[in-house]
Symmetry: C2
Subunit: 487 residues, 2 copies
């Protein structure tokens, strides 16, 4: 446990919020039997969060300040998990504990890139996750630039022998983040496509939407259990520079060094806390976010804010004078970032959770995760089974005033961490966030506390607290039952 | 000479411009004797530049792409100077040549900073210019944070023994850049104030207005001919992080490494080109900018755009069917950045110019420099001697339509490079630029081509070309003559 876990949050905002809730809800409530109507409480939670509070911001501030980057398997990640569990207890959450699981950790080490010809200049790069190290003296080669992954895949076998392959594809800025899946294939498949054609290393224009000298790391696919060649993301201005040199007819030569390494026998962990339901405590609404982060920034928007949003939502619920009918559980997953390419997946927090809680999943009534920064929620998607019900109407009536629209489709993919639970049959909702600026920061050194917009963070907490209360204080069945009527 | 100096710019914009000018000016002009009125030509130059052209942008694109960073005394700076001189000749400029002068160069080398306690995390730093290296294994110490330089100066002698002193002062964003002189004192005087009190190193919150993981370098004062301790700028988010840790009651320990070195017997150079005057060729309007840059970015806005603006202005003038009465000279100065703290100054391009051209300075009728990025010109300041004259009225009538106001005061400081000429008595004007975002980028790795707004770059060229024509095609005396009437 971290020596400073007993430091308390500044309490002013919490006290103010408690006062608001007592004024509104306390008058009609002397016990569970007289709990106000769910929509009344949901609206109170929403308004209290929107009025501004300190729980979420203080959580992400302290998490990112005390522990900095939290790469999977690192002491920083482990100490952050101990801190979070202790803070859960201090918040009055029940069943607060840490569940560990084994992983192989990846450590970036030092790294550098230099454009050595035609004129020497430093390049800003970040090795992709699990990328192997270069030889100790680095490696050097001429760069062959491909506009997109498609052109790289069309290159002849052996045609890149001794070369450094580079894919220059640009990511498109989109509110819903849909530019990311359209671009990330080059990162995922580029290294092995390059290696198959003889390349000694792979370079990628960062999958991001900014134009700063910061590189966006991320995972890439394994071939036979490993990344085949050293692979790096270039900052956007560096990729521009190489493209312009090629357009001027120059031959571009680059030197790359990476001291990356692997740590066998490491471990990561999930942190759990909950508020037990007053009527159906075995029925669980499970909320996820991930506590680990990439190593260059401090994981503020990816995913410190996600952990802050779900924790703050649960804390607001915990501070009510009455419990919801069902249990609400938060899970702060470990090893979300670097564990991704392992298949079959046992290195994810999400897989570890399913492995440890398989017996409970049948009574997990609903789940979702927050892992897209802290800009405003603009859309709610519910499970198909409740799409046209009173529940959906009530939820949209409560969330509409804070700018949340109905999604045009039922909830699909709810995120990486709760993915294995959803695959196991747990119904999912999604609260889609504005991702317009998310990929300016995602997976970069720039993922730091100063990027958080506190008003939008509060709106996230409002949406989560209100919706989760509606689901947890109901007996709605969110599962699809073939042939059966929706509740 | 660089092997690719013979590559020509794409000519479409130039041809289009020439056509415009011929249509407007050519009809009334068959020779020098029938040159149109100066304000007519100035307005034509202004409008042609505002219509969009490629000279300035292509110049800065090619300069920053071919040569990348151009630190004083480096091969990149020298090759860029050779390229620029060859390009001047290709443009038809006269007297195009390079003038070298000796300097001691400073080379950054590799550098790193790590917050080692309470939780390890990488810090983004940049050694300040001329900062000495650390020992080979780096150095480590507890950090003592001072809000501003004032508190550091109030610390007792010996009170920082074995410590790393840090000044956390924030720079204020201002349109006219006045936040910079208000903050830069900590960078200039911090290292020796810290060293005097026993500190082993000095850290500074970057003198900048951004909040990215990029650090702003810059020069600092010498004590007995050198910077007394290793000194580094921290990125703003890293400075925030250290301040928050201290606020949480944590002891912050940092490890620093710098492999900086000095190169004795290096040289830098000024590049000169001109359009000779048709009536008074010995009278010179001298325009300056600097060709060297800091080493982390590619010197796009500092000062690639300055060299582009004055070069493009001269090229527009050169392409007219008639010459101005007086000579217009551009000087691309070397060693502006790293040479600053040397006193008495012999390592500046600006001082070298005065030393080589002292005999000419009496007939340098007017000067200015462009060294503040490429955002729009909003204000014109003229020498006191012409403040209330027809010349000033005409200049403002021509520049007003592109958003240039009259400065409330006559021109004062015109910049570092032309400073020694101004001190020697050459009258100066200033075309003040919008600096709102300049210090987001200044002296950082982020000083790259993508930061340039082409429309605003064109407006700069328009203002310079028009004003310079008015001055050069006149016989106005810009010097103050005690007791004498202004022209």
């Amino acid at each position: 446990m971290h020596p400073d876990t007993r430091v308390e949050f500044p309490g002013a905002g919490v006290l103010r919020l408690a006062a608001v809730l007592c004024l509104c809800a306390g008058a009609a409530s002397a016990g569970a039997a007289t709990t106000p109507a769910p929509d009344t409480v949901a609206a109170q939670l929403r308004d209290a969060a929107m009025a501004g509070h300190t729980i979420a911001y203080n959580w992400v501030s302290e998490l990112t300040t005390r522990f900095g980057p939290r790469p999977a398997g690192s002491p920083n990640e482990q100490q952050a998990a101990s801190w979070a569990a202790a803070r859960f207890k201090a918040f009055g959450f029940e069943n607060a504990h840490v569940e560990t699981f084994p992983i192989t950790a990846w450590v970036r080490g030092s790294e550098s890139a230099t454009l050595v010809a035609p004129s020497p200049q430093p390049l800003v790069v970040a090795a992709l996750g699990e990328s192997p190290p270069t030889p100790a003296g680095g490696l050097e080669g001429d760069v062959v630039v491909f506009p997109t992954l498609t052109e790289l895949k069309a290159a002849a076998p052996g045609s890149l022998s001794g070369k450094i392959a580079m894919v220059a594809q640009r990511m498109v800025r989109m509110q819903d983040g849909s530019g990311y899946p359209a671009a990330v294939g080059a990162r995922v498949d580029g290294p092995h496509e390059a290696a198959q054609r003889g390349a000694i290393a792979f370079l990628l224009r960062s999958v991001g939407t900014d134009s700063h000298r910061i590189a966006h790391t991320g995972t890439t696919a394994y071939t036979d259990g490993h990344v085949p060649v050293p692979a790096f993301a270039l900052s956007a201005p560096d990729a521009d520079q190489i493209e312009r040199l090629v357009a001027l007819g120059q031959s571009v030569r680059v030197h790359l060094f990476s001291g990356a390494s692997y740590v066998n026998g490491a471990h990561s962990q999930n942190v759990i806390g909950e508020v037990r339901g007053r009527e159906r405590p075995d029925e669980v609404v499970m909320l996820g976010a991930h506590l680990d982060s990439w190593d260059q920034g401090t994981g503020a928007i990816d995913d410190g804010t996600g952990t802050a949003i779900i924790t703050a939502a649960l804390k607001l619920i915990r501070d009510l004078p009455h419990r919801p009918r069902r249990t609400v559980r938060v899970v702060l997953f470990g090893s979300e970032e670097v564990g991704q390419p392992v298949d079959p997946g046992s290195a994810f927090g999400g897989h570890a959770y399913v492995a440890s809680h398989r017996g409970e999943l049948a009574t997990h009534v609903l789940t979702s995760e927050s892992d897209f920064g802290a800009d405003r929620v603009y859309e709610l998607a519910l499970p198909q089974a409740v799409s046209d019900t009173t529940f959906a109407q009530t939820a949209l009536r409560i969330l509409g005033p804070i700018g949340v629209l109905a999604a045009p489709r039922p909830a699909g993919d709810a995120g990486t961490d709760v993915g294995p639970s959803v695959e196991a049959g747990v119904p999912a909702f999604t609260l889609s966030q504005d991702g317009t600026r998310y990929f300016d920061i995602h997976h970069t050194p720039d993922d730091t506390l100063d990027k958080i917009d506190r008003a939008q963070l509060d709106q996230n907490v409002a949406a989560w607290a209100a919706l989760v209360w509606l689901a947890a204080d109901s007996d709605v069945d969110f599962r699809a039952h073939p042939g059966g009527a929706a509740h």
